[in-house]
Amino acid sequence: MSTPALALAVALLTILGYWIGRRRSFAVVANDTSKLHSRPTYHGFYVAIWCGIPAAFVFFFWVLFEGYLITDLVVAGLPESVVGGLSADRMNLVVNDILNLASGNIVATESDPMLRAAADHYIQLQSMSRVALVVLVLSLAVAGMGLSLRAVQPHNRVRNRVERVVQIFLIGSSTIAVFATIGIVLSVLFEAIRFFEAVPLSEFLFGLQWSPQMAIREDQVGSSGAFGAIPLFAGTLLISFIAMLVAVPVGLMSAIYLGEYASRKVRALVKPLLEVLAGIPTVVYGFFAALTVAPFIRDNGSLLGLDVSSESALAAGLVMGIMIIPFVSSLSDDVINAVPQAMRDGSEALGATRSETIKKVVIPAALPGIVGGILLAVSRAIGETMIVVMAAGLAANLTANPLEAVTTVTVQIVTLLVGDQEFDSPKTLAAFALGLMLFIVTLVLNVIALHVVRRYREQYE
C-alpha cells in the first residue's frame, strides 16, 4: 500500500467514523434528538477525531523518521571495508549511491556488489516498515473509532470535548504568526550582528551615504564603502508615498463606486477584474515603468524645463500605485458592503444624499477595514523590488525630489544577496542588517498605527 493510498484510507475511515457516529447518536435516543446533550453532528465529529487524529499523528511521524531509521540500519549493516574511516559527509555520498540503486536510478559508479547488497537490504527494510505502518495506522484508526463509538450516549458532553479540540487548533494557528516573527528575527539576527562587528551601528543608523563600493576580489584594496541606511529608508518612504497617492484615491473611490453606485452585475464583473492587477507579474510592471512611464515623464519634464533623470522615483511610484490598487479597492469594498443597510436607510431618510451618507456614515463605520487594506497596500509597496530596480535604479540618493533616482531598502537587500561578492563580506551581511532594521521600523510604525486606528475607530450598533 503506497503512502497516498494509506492516507486516503485513513481519510475515508475518518469520514466513515463521522457518519457512523452521527447515525449511532440518532439510534441511541430513537431519533428523539432533544434527549441528546450534544447534537448528532458533534457525536460524528467526536468519532472522526478519535479515528483520524491519532492515526494521522503516528502516520506522519513514522513517515518522517522512517527514512533516517532505515538508512541508519543499512549503514550499521555495512561491512567495515566500506565504512572504514569514512567521515559523515562521505558516508552521506555512499548512502546516496545505495538509495539511487534501491530506487532504480542511474548510479555514478559501476555497482559494487557490496552496495547492491546494501540496496537490497534497504528495499527489504523499507517494505517491512511499510507493512508495519499500514497495519499500525489502520488498526489505530479502527480502534479509535470503536472506542469512541462507546461514548455516543445521550448524556455524554461530547460537544465540549469537540469544541476543545477546535479551540486548540485555533490557538495553534494563531501562534504561527508569533513563530514566524521569531523565525525571521533569528534568521537575520546573527548575520546582522556580524555586520555590526564590521560597521559601527551608529554609522549604519545615522549615516547619510549609502555606497557599498567595496572590493569584490581579494587582491583588490577596498575602495570606499559607506553603509548609512538613511538614504535607503528615505527612498522607501518617497516611493511608497507616491504609490499611495495613486492607490488610495483610485482604490477607495473604486470601492465606493462599486459598493454604493454600481449595479450588482457591474460589481461582480469589475471587482475580480481589478483584482487581476495584483496578480500581474511585477516584471511586467517593471518593463511598463521603465520603458513607457519613465521616458514619458522625462520627455514631458524636459518640455517643462525640469531636469528629470531617466530613472525616477515618480515612475516607479506611479506604477507601483497601480499594482496595489486592488489591495485598497477590494478590501474596502468588502467592508463597505458589510455596513448594515439600515444605517444607509437611516441617513437617507433624514434627507442626506448618497454621497453625504457615504462620507458621513458608511466610511466611518467601515474605517477599521479600510485602514487594514491601506496598511496592507503600504506593506506591499515597501516589499516590492522589481519595479523599483527597473524604473528607479539602484543609486541611493538622499532626496525628496520625486524626479530623481532613489532606491529602497528591499531592493538593496535583494541586490546584495544575489551579488557576485563574497558572501561573508560586510557587503552581503548588510542585507541582513537592513532586513532587521526594516523589521524594527515597520514594527514601530505598526504599533503607532494600532493606537491611531483605535482612537479614531467608530463603533456602530
Binding site: I184, G279, G383, L450
Partner: protein, 434 residues
C-alpha cells in the same frame, strides 16, 4: 441648527434646504463621477497592460517548422540490426539532419556557409528525429519526411521581427540565410504551426524548444501547499483573535505582529525558509514543498488581516441572535458568523494567492530560481514556478524569448483567472447585504 440667530428671526429650514439642494446634487453627481472615473482608470490600466502583454505574446503560440527529407541510414542508427534502444538512442541524428540540409542545398560547399546553413533548423532537430525513429523503428533504412522546428532566428524572420531592409551586419540572420529560407518557402517546406512544444516542454535555452509545462506543474504543486496552509491557518487565526480571545495586551501583540509580518519584504521570507525549512528541518532545496511553505507564511498576514476585517464587519446582532437561541460560541462562530464573513475572507485569499502566484524573490533563497528541464512529478521534485520562468526568460539574450516571456505571462494570468473565477463564484454564493 440654523436658528442660532435668535427668536427674532424665524428661519424656514425648508428654504435653506431648497437653496442648497442644487449644490448638494451637483456634489453628489461629482462624487459619483469621481467613483466612476476611478473604476475606469483602474480598468484602463488593466487593459493597457493586458494589451501590451497579448500583442507581444500571441505570436509565441505559433512556431516555424521546416519539412525535411531525412535518410535514416541503418548503418548509422543501428549498425548491428539488433533494434537495441540504447544503440538507437546514441546514434548521431544531428548529423543526419545536417546531411539532409546539404542535400536540399547542394550548392553549399564552403565550411563557413555550411555552418550558416545548419543554423536554419533548431539544434534540437536531431532529438525530434530520434523520437520519431525510436517510435517507428520500421522506418530505418528508408527516407522519411519530418517536420522539425526551425532555429529561433528563422522563426523571428518568418514572424516579421527582423527587418529585411536593414543592412546585413545589423541582423542576426544573413542575406544568404534569408535567400535559403525564401527558397524553402517557395517549396512549401516551411510553415508556421501551432506551438505544442510551448505547452508540453520544460525550460530550454533554445527558444524553439522551450516550454512552460515544468513551471506550470511547479506552480501548481507550490500553490496547493500555499492555499491549504495559508487559508486554513489564516482563517483559524482570524477567528481565534476576533471571536475567542478577550482584547488584551497579548492579542494586541499578536495583532501588531501580524500587521508587521505583512510588511516584511518577501525575500526575507526566503531567508526564513532557508534557515528553518532547509537548514534546520533538512528539507531539500528547490522543491515545491518548501516553496509552498514559504509562500504560505508570506500570504498568511494578508489573509488574516482581510479575514479579521471581514469578521469585524459582521453585525453583532447576528452573534447575539445565535447565542440567544442557545447556540454555543463555537456554533455561533462556525454556523453564523463565518459564512457571513466568507466573502471578505475569500477576497483576502484571492489577493494573497495572486501575490503568491506572482512572487519570485523569496524563492531565490530556497533554490527555486533554477533551470529545470523536467516537469516535477510531486511535492519534492526540483522545480521552478511560472514567475521565475518569466523572470529568467525576460533576462535571456535571445530575441525569441521576448514573445515567449509574454506568452508565459498570459499562461500565468490564465492560471490567475481560473483561480479567481473559483473564488468569485464562492464569494457570490456567500455574499449578502444587511
Amino acid at each position: 441648527m440654523n436658528n442660532r440667530g435668535g427668536a427674532d428671526m424665524p428661519v424656514d429650514t425648508t428654504q435653506i434646504i431648497k437653496r442648497t439642494l442644487a449644490r448638494r446634487y451637483r456634489r453628489e453627481a461629482r462624487f459619483r463621477r469621481m467613483g466612476l472615473f476611478a473604476v475606469v482608470l483602474g480598468l484602463a490600466f488593466l487593459s493597457l497592460l493586458l494589451f501590451s502583454i497579448v500583442s507581444k505574446g500571441y505570436t509565441a503560440f505559433w512556431q516555424t517548422f521546416v519539412l525535411m527529407d531525412v535518410h535514416l541510414d541503418a548503418g548509422v542508427i543501428d549498425p548491428e540490426g539488433t533494434l537495441d534502444q540504447e544503440v538507437m538512442f546514441a546514434a548521431d541524428y544531428g548529423g543526419m539532419i545536417k546531411a539532409s540540409l546539404r542535400d536540399t542545398f547542394p550548392e553549399v560547399t564552403q565550411r563557413r556557409e555550411k555552418r550558416d546553413l545548419y543554423r536554419l533548423v533548431s539544434s534540437g532537430a536531431g532529438f525530434y528525429l530520434r523520437e520519431e525513429v525510436l517510435q517507428n523503428p520500421d522506418a530505418i533504412g528508408k527516407t522519411i519526411q519530418i517536420w522539425v522546428p526551425a532555429d529561433d532566428d528563422v522563426d523571428m524572420l518568418m514572424k516579421g521581427h527582423f527587418d529585411r531592409d536593414k543592412p546585413e551586419e545589423d541582423r542576426r540572420i544573413k542575406d544568404q540565410q534569408i535567400a535559403w529560407v525564401d527558397r524553402l518557402v517557395d517549396q512549401n517546406r516551411i510553415e508556421l504551426r501551432f506551438n505544442t512544444t510551448f505547452f508540453t516542454a520544460g525550460d530550454s535555452r533554445e527558444p524553439e524548444l522551450a516550454g512552460i509545462w515544468a513551471a506550470v506543474c511547479g506552480s501548481f504543486f507550490t500553490l496547493v501547499i500555499t492555499l491549504l496552509l495559508a487559508f486554513t491557518m489564516g482563517v483559524a487565526t482570524a477567528v481565534y483573535l476576533e471571536e475567542f480571545t478577550p482584547k488584551n495586551r497579548w492579542t494586541d501583540l499578536i495583532e501588531v505582529n501580524i500587521n508587521n509580518l505583512a510588511a516584511v519584504p518577501s525575500i526575507v521570507y526566503g531567508l526564513l525558509g532557508l534557515a528553518v525549512f532547509i537548514n534546520f528541518f533538512g528539507l531539500p532545496r528547490s522543491v515545491p514543498l518548501v516553496g509552498g511553505l514559504v509562500l504560505a507564511l508570506m500570504t498568511l498576514p494578508t489573509i488574516i488581516i482581510a479575514s479579521r476585517a471581514a469578521l469585524k464587519s459582521v453585525p453583532p446582532s447576528i452573534r447575539d441572535a445565535a447565542l440567544g437561541v442557545g447556540a454555543s460560541k463555537t456554533e455561533m462562530v462556525f454556523h453564523h458568523v463565518l459564512p457571513q464573513a466568507m466573502p471578505g475572507m475569500l477576497t483576502g485569499t484571492i489577493i494573497g494567492m495572486a501575490q503568491a502566484l506572482g512572487e519570485s524573490a523569496p524563492l531565490l533563497m530556497i533554490g527555486m530560481v533554477a533551470f529545470i528541464a523536467d516537469a516535477p512529478g510531486g511535492f519534492t521534485d526540483p522545480s521552478t514556478v511560472l514567475p521565475v520562468q518569466i523572470y529568467l526568460w525576460a533576462d535571456s539574450p535571445e530575441r525569441a524569448f521576448v514573445e515567449r516571456t509574454s506568452a508565459a505571462i498570459m499562461i500565468l494570468l490564465a492560471f490567475l483567472f481560473s483561480m479567481n473565477g473559483l473564488a468569485v463564484l464562492l464569494r457570490k454564493r456567500f455574499e449578502r447585504r444587511w
